[in-house]
Symmetry: C2
Subunit: 197 residues, 2 copies
Amino acid sequence: MAGKVEERKKKLREALIDAAEAQIETGGLATLKARKLAQVAGCSVGAIYNVFDDLDALVMAVNARTFRRLGSFVSAQVAAQTDDGPNAQMITMSHAYLRFAVEHTFLWRALFDLEMSVDGAVPDWYLQELGAVFALIAAPLARLFPDMDARARDLMVRALFSSVHGIVLLGLEKRISAVPQDQIEIMLTQLLGQIGN
Amino acid sequence: MAGKVEERKKKLREALIDAAEAQIETGGLATLKARKLAQVAGCSVGAIYNVFDDLDALVMAVNARTFRRLGSFVSAQVAAQTDDGPNAQMITMSHAYLRFAVEHTFLWRALFDLEMSVDGAVPDWYLQELGAVFALIAAPLARLFPDMDARARDLMVRALFSSVHGIVLLGLEKRISAVPQDQIEIMLTQLLGQIGN
DNA sequence: TTATTTATTGAACGTGGTTCAAGGCGAGGT
DNA sequence: ACCTCGCCTTGAACCACGTTCAATAAATAA
């Protein structure tokens, strides 16, 4: 009867991530509470700490899921698009990013709200997923600037990603722009349409 | 002897804002605690709540100061620059924004970290300051796109501000880019140098 | 089965924002 | 000068929350 513990632990781990994800999705990161979580996942408060170092570690696990979902969503949108040139491709990606942020606002927010607090120790999966996203952007950019050296292009990839992120972030922030989604799309289109022309 | 209460209240208000600002500047928003604050400002914990509704309101007061400082810093940098055209002007503004964020990281962060939580009720001073910043950007943009209608230009102003913000935000985030300050400047220069060409 | 090790529990601890009943103090009237 | 009224101030107490830990239960080994 060996391995019963491992199995239960894995089950609990999944249950906790599911419960945390559901809570973040509906109420946001701030509404995630240890006691409520234990109740939903069907365990004691203390049990959480047998599986995760602390709640931040649990949120990181949720973020890992979210990040993968985001990456494959953007990829899928790009793949489903007929190739109308590098600018159109980048615009498609940015619109996909926006749509994900709109449809999963709290989960998307948690990606950035949590990591800010955790200094040092960037997990491996994080850099991997980020690298995948950057690679997606790098492809059309290489077509636009074939003579640009890799270092400069890498910098431009980050700049563009950050720009899109900023536009989506502040665009969804009621108190700053109060801009409806289609206006945000126009902003993204305008910005990315200008690149390389 | 009329107005003694008002006077003391005003003094306490200033003392509290000063103490809160100092704490945020050195330790970040998360290290701001009511008890410590009362101790530094020389009052009881309860007294804070006679002057401010809650700690968020106090942080808002700090943010008002920070926002004004940010605005005048960017203005000053632009004014101190010989006019090398609209792109150069926007680049100067973005570099000033970056420099402010680097030199007052915690205060700058508090501008965005707090407001996110406070829904509704955007204070008047906030929109005013934001409008001033947007007006700064609108000037060079009007020179670049003289035939663009006001609505589209307004959208572009927001898009550019958001882009710069995004580049600075993620650029200062160790876990995402770990990009040194001069690299961030290059990103900003590249992006804004492309606009309108 | 019994012993030993490991997991689980939930009450308790520490921290921190916010409240409130009790006492203090300024302003106006006498 | 004194009294009175109402606001200010105080800090102990309240509540919510993350995290811990001694006690309990369960699983593995002998």
